[in-house]
C-alpha cells in the first residue's frame, strides 16, 4: 500500500487519491508550432526512476499537488504544493 503525502493532510492511503500523470509537461503557447503541441499532447519521457507527477486528493482536501516518486520502487521521495519546489529531504 502506498502512502501519498498530501502537503495539507499529511500521508494518506493511496485510495483517497487520483493520479494525474507527469507534472513536467508544459502547455505551449496557443500559436506555438505544431511539433510543440504534438510533444505536449502525446510524447512523454516515461522515466525509469524518480518521476515528478501530479496527484489529486479527491477524498480529502480536494487539492492537486505534485509528488516525486521512484517508478522502480514506488518509493515516495517528496511532495509539494503546485508551483512549489520539492523541499530537500522532505516527504
Amino acid at each position: 500500500m502506498m502512502l501519498i503525502p498530501c502537503p495539507w493532510c499529511g500521508p494518506r492511503d493511496q485510495i483517497e487519491f487520483t493520479y494525474g500523470g507527469d507534472a513536467t509537461v508544459r502547455r505551449p503557447a496557443s500559436d506555438a508550432p505544431e511539433p510543440e503541441w504534438v510533444d505536449y499532447v502525446y510524447l512523454r519521457d516515461n522515466p525509469c526512476g524518480p518521476l515528478d507527477e501530479l496527484w489529486y486528493h479527491g477524498a480529502g482536501c480536494r487539492s492537486w499537488f505534485h509528488v516525486l516518486r521512484d517508478t522502480r520502487t514506488h518509493e515516495v521521495l517528496a511532495s509539494a504544493a503546485i508551483g512549489e519546489p520539492f523541499a530537500p529531504g522532505e516527504g
Partner: protein, 444 residues
Amino acid sequence: MRRDVRLVDRESRICENSAHLRHPGVDALKYSIFSLIGHALSRERWPLAWRSPEPAKHYDVVVIGGGGHGLATAYYLAKVHGIRNVAVLEKGWLGGGNTGRNTTIVRSNYHFEPNAHFYEYSLKLWESLSQELDFNVMYSPRGVLNLVHTPGEMDAAMRRGNAMRLNGIDAKFLSRDEIASWIPNLDCSPSSRFPILGGLLQPRGGTVRHDAVAWGYARAADALGVDIIQQCEVTGMRIEDGAVTGVRTTRGDIGAGKVGIAVAGYSSKVAEMAGIRLPIESHVLQAMVSEPIKPVLDTVVTSGAVHFYISQSDKGELVMGGDLDFYNSYAQRGNLPVIEDVVRACLALFPSFGRLRLMRTWGGIMDMTMDGSPIIGKLPVKNLYMTGGWCYGGFKATPASGYVHAWTIARDEPHPLNAKFTLERFAEGRTIDEKGAGPYPWAH
C-alpha cells in the same frame, strides 16, 4: 545429424552481404507421441530445445527483447524472409517479461478496422501455431464472453458485434438465460449486485499457454539458425549518419544491419537510446490466481463495467485480473487496492468463489500508448524498427506482431496489416482510439 542452415532468400537485400554460412541450429527433433514414447522407454535425455551461443560480432538483424514478440519476429524473419543471420538479445530469461506474466486470453473482438483485421489475422495464426512450430501451445477456443450490465453497454456490444461480423469475425449475442444455463456459478439473478442483461461472445476466442509460446518460437527460430542470447541487456545503440549500425550490450558491442525493438514496458527506455521519445507510459498491471480446484468454468468471462475478467487454467487455478494500478511504474509489482477491487468484483459475479483462497499475485509492466493501440513499424532512425505499445492486450497479438514486424524489417516497409500502426499517426491526427479515452495512457 546436424543440419546445415543456409540463406534461402538470395534476392533479399539484407542477405547479400552475409553469404557466409552460419553455425547450424540444433538438430530439431520432431515432437510427437512416438518421440515421447521412445524417450520414455530409452530414458535418453531430450536434446536442448535451443542453443545458448556466444554473441557473434555482427548480425543482419538484431532483435531486442526475448518475449513472444521478439522471438516471433526472429522466427518469421528466418522462416518467411530467409533472413537467418539473426540474434535475439534478452536481458533476463525468455518469456520472463509480460509473456510469462499475462492471463493468456486471445481474441479479436475489436471495433475499429485496423485492430479488427490485425487481431483476426493473429487469431488465425493461433489456430494452427502448434502445428507450425511443432510445439503444443495449447490454444483453447473456449470462447470469450463480455458481460453486458446496462442498456448503454448493450448498445455498444451490439454495435461492436455487428462491426465484427461485417469484418468476417465470429460474434454472437447471448441472452441472460443462455448465459445462466451455460455458466451456472455466475450470478445472473435480477437481484445481483451487477445485474447481467446479456453478453457478447466470441466463440473462437480463448486461451493459449503463455510460456509455450515463447519456448515454441525460440525452438523453431533456433532450428532455423537464429542465435538466442539470454542475460544480454542492450544498454546503448550505435548510430552513424542517421542509421543504426549496432547495439551496445552487457556482453559487448554487436554490429547490426537492422535492429528491431520488442521490449514491451521498456520501449521508452530502449527508444531513448536512439534519441526517440515515444507516446508511451509504463504502467503496472496485476493478475492473480486462486488455489487450484476441479473444473468449474469452461470459458473466459469479462466485465467491462466492473473491470474484471476470469478464466480457469488447465491446472485448475482461477486466473483473474482487472484494472491497471493507475500510476507510472517499472516495478513489476503493484499494490493491494487493485487486488481488493478484482476480488470484490469476482465475488459479486461468482459468489461461490468466496470459499477459495487467493494463492499468488504478480505484476507486469505495460507499454501504454496514448491511443491504446500498438506501434509497429519504422522509427525515425534508419534501419530501426519497433513493435510495442501493447497495453494490456499484446499477448494475443504475438504471432501477427512477429509476422508483420519481420515483414517490415525485411522489406523496410509495412505490411498492409500494420500500415496504420505508425508512430507518425499521433502527429498526423490519425490515432486509433478504440475506447475514445483520449491521450491519457492509463485510461485505455
